[in-house]
């Protein structure tokens, strides 16, 4: 039972991590919380639905289209909304408000287009379980976990070991200095939105496989946001650790206490952590960031 819950918890945490890293990346560059990020996952999930039902593409292709869909919408939000607001020299608060607006528009639009009905992928998903020792592990959880692990490892490698990652870290540290050292700040920001959007797309498809696809599924972004705050806003490894903690905590609370108290415990963890360590587990400084 314990082991089984742990695997489920990590698998849920993995989906949170795919989104939480996106929040962190964008926060580290632009100092605002991109509230429409959860909707990129929802759009990714619906893109995969459209490709699998309307276009009748095989699942792998539909899933890739979902990832691309998340990436594209994220990129467009940056290009046509956030970038213009930044250019106007507006306070960061405006970016956050614009993001909230976009989030609403996307939710309502998907409600109009797809109705509020729960949809599932028209494929035989591996819902079976395998017996490991005395525990039954869901195959879907394991598949989701493996995909997440590969994607997150690639992400960490990109951030830490490539020139692109170095540029992104430099912009996060000091965009003004990065500019005069030959780094194209805007184009790197655009790439980060593509990257964060595609991670959200992966999260959306995995989440849709587990819990179906519906217009408000992007609200999972709130959990991912909590995870990134727990880990320390702006820190990618922090976001991953925070997401895993939150996923495991929620699963254990649901299993051993009560699933209706799940969110109570998530938010309680957030509040306690903010009281004890305001900068989060991996946060550097939070002085001027709140």
């Amino acid at each position: 039972m314990f082991f089984q819950q742990l695997i489920t918890g990590i698998s849920v945490g993995g989906i949170y991590a795919l989104l939480a890293t996106g929040y962190s990346l964008i926060y580290s560059l632009l100092d605002f919380s991109n509230w429409s990020h959860g909707e990129f996952a929802m759009i990714g999930a619906y893109t995969a639905i459209v490709f699998s039902t309307v276009v009748k593409a095989p699942f792998a292709l539909a899933a890739l289209a979902g990832v691309a869909g998340g990436a594209l919408v994220s990129f467009l939000c940056e290009r046509f909304a956030y970038r213009r607001i930044r250019r106007n020299g507006a306070p960061n608060m405006f970016l956050m408000i614009a993001a909230m607006g976009l989030s609403n528009v996307f939710q309502q639009a998907s409600n109009l287009i797809f109705t509020g009905q729960y949809r599932s992928y028209p494929f035989q998903l591996p819902v079976s379980t395998v017996k490991v020792g005395s525990a039954y592990i869901g195959v879907l959880d394991v598949v989701s976990l493996l995909i997440t692990a590969v994607v997150l490892m690639a992400l960490i490698y990109m951030i830490n070991k490539t020139q692109f990652g170095l540029n992104v870290r430099a912009i996060a540290n000091n965009a003004g200095a990065a500019k005069v050292l030959g780094i194209k700040v805007d184009s790197n920001i655009a790439k980060v939105f593509l990257l964060a959007g595609s991670l959200a797309g992966v999260a959306g498809v995995l989440y849709g496989m587990k819990y179906n696809v519906f217009p408000t599924m992007g609200n999972v972004g709130l959990k991912a946001f909590i995870a990134s705050v727990i880990g320390g806003l702006g820190s990618v490894p922090g976001a991953i650790v925070g997401a895993m903690l939150l996923g495991v905590l929620e699963t254990f609370v649901s299993a051993y206490i009560s699933s209706s108290l799940r969110d109570f415990f998530s938010f309680a963890l957030l509040i306690v952590l903010l009281l004890v360590k305001p900068s989060g587990l991996f946060g550097v400084d939070v002085q001027d960031k709140a």
Binding site: Q163, N174, G176, K179, I183
Partner: protein, 258 residues
């Protein structure tokens, strides 16, 4: 690029910049020959840093022209300016504070890298070769400024004087032909200022570079600059050798104040 000495490295012609009704720079012109150190002096708010921001493309001037080795660079974006060979430092040091000393320098030279993303993820030969070259170049530069023992320290853990040197090493990683130094001796005592002046002179010889510097310390300017321009409220009030401008009555009135 070999510079034939008749073309100035930097030429600014009637450059103007206003913010609202404030004339931050008013009709500013300057010509800097290859290998010279040119000083930009004047009281706070005289428009010195605005001139740097115009050269490096942070702002586009409202009027006038900026030529770099004879090419018009007016209004070119900052990352392009860096790529064509103008490096700068900042008055309030702007390092990548949370990154290592060596990463600070590698960033500035990373446009030399030719590998692509799949190459990086798969550790291609090009990736390894480029990374090795970038690292070696950074170590060379850091040795020149005497920071070769601090490669993996965090930039903001260095003492102040070393941070200044790191910022200069980082600018030099662009292989610049023109280096803009914004108050390199700010916050230094007399002894440190002398050391800094020697260091700047050494950089000029070692890299055969042209330097435009903003400086408040008159002793540093006298010691180091071939020519200087004195500004007051955006207007040029004197141009000449340090000795000449020090003797200029208007400069004495506006700036030296005694």
């Amino acid at each position: 690029m070999t510079n034939n000495n008749s073309t100035p490295v930097l030429e600014m012609i009637h450059v103007e910049k206003h913010f609202g009704g404030v004339h931050a720079i008013d009709d500013f012109s300057v010509k800097i020959e290859h290998g010279k150190i040119h000083g930009l002096i004047g009281p706070n708010g005289a428009g010195k840093t605005t001139i740097f921001n115009n050269i490096t493309g942070i702002y586009a001037p409202d009027a006038g022209q900026i030529l770099f080795n004879g090419t018009d660079i007016t209004g070119t974006p900052p990352h392009r300016i860096a790529q064509i060979g103008i490096g700068r430092t900042f008055q309030n040091i702007r390092l990548f504070a949370n990154m290592s000393v060596i990463d600070n320098v590698i960033i500035a030279s990373n446009m030399d890298a030719k590998y692509n993303l799949p190459g990086a993820l798969l550790h291609s030969g090009q990736y390894k070769e480029d990374e090795k070259k970038l690292r070696e170049k950074a170590i060379d530069l850091l040795s020149v400024v005497g920071l070769q023992d601090k490669l993996d320290e965090r930039a903001n853990s260095l003492p102040y004087g070393h941070q200044r040197k790191l910022e200069i090493a980082r600018a030099m990683a662009l292989n610049p032909k023109l280096l803009l130094l914004d108050e390199p001796a700010a916050g230094m005592n007399a002894e440190e200022s002398v050391e800094l002046a020697n260091f700047v002179r050494f950089i000029r010889e070692r890299f055969d570079i042209t330097i435009l510097m903003i400086e408040h310390h008159m002793d540093v300017v006298t010691n180091l600059c071939d020519y200087c321009t004195v500004l007051n409220f955006g207007k040029t009030i004197a141009v000449g050798t340090p000795a000449e401008v020090k003797a200029d009555p208007e400069v004495i009135r506006a700036y030296l104040g005694s």
